[in-house]
Subunit: 283 residues, 2 copies
């Protein structure tokens, strides 16, 4: 069951799940004043989904519907790509109906959500601010590298360029996190977030390698470390077009939740994408 | 004291040490039929070094000279960039004269060398097949990533290109090691070493970004992982021109040896570049 349709991230995730052969529950919670139903069309199948006002903004009758769906589908995993303002009430509803879920909505109160979920007795969940598991893996790896080999790139000069669709005003959060690890490696304490070059104009983006069809939705990052004499250069790029990688990561989180409960592992109720990644050997 | 001059790696390392302000002992062991002396010219200083037939190919009188140099310079660290055929006898000579040393010569019997050195009582040494510590750090980090997050890049297609001077006939050893980690990440068991694209022609090298002045000595590597739908790409490059990075890593190993003995840490006699890297926080 995917909540938050017809939002683009919810829809992309629903498609990814249909493509994997997961059974998509023909119900979805959404905000008020939204359309009534939607077709989710995967590569080989279309599922018609009825949209109803979600638990985050709904009354007791909506909770009753969620409980009914759960009773009819004991293996239910709810996917949440709704709205920051809805997440906390949604988590409370999922927990009270003993639903397992994957929370991909960002901007909500992460501390409160994880606090509630960590105490849940009959619900397990993956709550993660970034569902692109390969990027999470790279971030965690650079964090490990920086703590294991601090100052190993002393005197190397860092430069960072990132490109996102022109509607994104702020600096990439992923770039910020990775910069903190890279400056631990090169000891460049004077590197500030203003030193990250943001590319938001189409001409610059095309020159940076962004395909024209991805100008309206992409996340391209290039980090470069060059030795003081210029003879050695390291470069790392992670370039994402569209939303597919986040949808696939969310579907991986669903598979992880299913695996955890099949193992009877309800001793822990809260997981993140590092847990999903570390369980990768089970695939 | 640097052994193996006028070999280019020994000479570059001697220069790096002079540039750091280390005292260069005006003696160096070398092979038979070599020139008698050499000027080591750093950025601000020139040291005249007398070359003599080394312990690996020399008689008892050469061992006596080494012992004399050690007695006159209790903080001596010997750097060895000699010949594979000389390394084993050199290690025996260093150990018998209670010299600390850094062995950068490759192609020797690493198992025998490390076996002798690990039992040494009054000699500590760094023995490492690759002195480019930043590249060693990247290799170790990718090894860690692969063991922590196996299969996290399943369905990502790997491509690898490497360029070295045209005299290098075989595939890059670093590329082989890193490929083994990347194929653990993407599960691409069909990827073979033949799939590594070797660039050995000048035109291809210039197109690959090699500066024309580095055509005769460089090591450029590009690894790329692309998702099956092409929407996500990760790329890692490590590009080295010349020998400076290896010389600097060797000088770092000398500093590490000095730090270890000043700490009185002679409980362990054998170290590698990972030890040097992990001690980086001391710099």
């Amino acid at each position: 069951m995917v909540n938050g349709m017809p939002g683009p991230m919810a829809l992309e995730t629903a498609k990814a799940c249909v493509d994997r052969g997961y059974k998509l529950i023909p119900w979805g919670f959404t905000g008020p004043n939204m359309i009534k139903d939607i077709d989710v069309t995967g590569a080989s199948k279309t599922v018609k989904v009825q949209l109803v006002k979600g638990p985050g903004v709904g009354g007791p009758e909506v909770i009753d519907l969620l409980r009914k769906i759960k009773n009819e589908n004991p293996n239910l995993v709810v996917i949440d790509y709704t709205h920051p303002s809805a997440t906390l009430n949604n988590v409370k509803a999922y927990v009270s109906c003993e639903c397992d879920f994957v929370m991909g909505t960002t901007g909500g109160d992460l501390v409160q959500m994880t606090d509630i979920q960590s105490k849940a007795k009959n619900s397990i969940a993956v709550i993660a601010p970034n569902m692109a598991k390969q990027i999470v893996a790279v971030q965690a790896t650079l964090q490990h590298m920086a703590s294991r080999f601090p100052n190993s790139f002393v005197d190397y000069k860092l430069s960072v360029r990132e490109s996102h669709q022109s509607t994104k005003a702020d600096t990439s959060g992923t770039a910020k996190a990775i910069v903190s690890h890279l400056t631990t490696l090169n000891g460049e304490r004077s590197f500030t977030l203003e030193d990250i070059e943001m590319i938001r104009d189409e001409k610059g983006q095309l020159a940076f390698g962004v395909p024209s069809e991805a100008l309206r939705g992409h996340a391209f990052h290039t980090y470069r470390l060059v030795s003081s004499d210029g003879s050695v250069a390291f470069e790392l790029q992670h370039n994402v077009c569209g939303r597919r990688v986040y949808a696939e990561g969310t579907a991986d989180a669903v598979a992880f939740v299913d695996e955890m409960r099949r193992r009877g592992g309800r001793t822990k109720s809260l997981f993140n994408m590092i847990d999903v990644l570390e369980a990768g050997a089970m695939n």
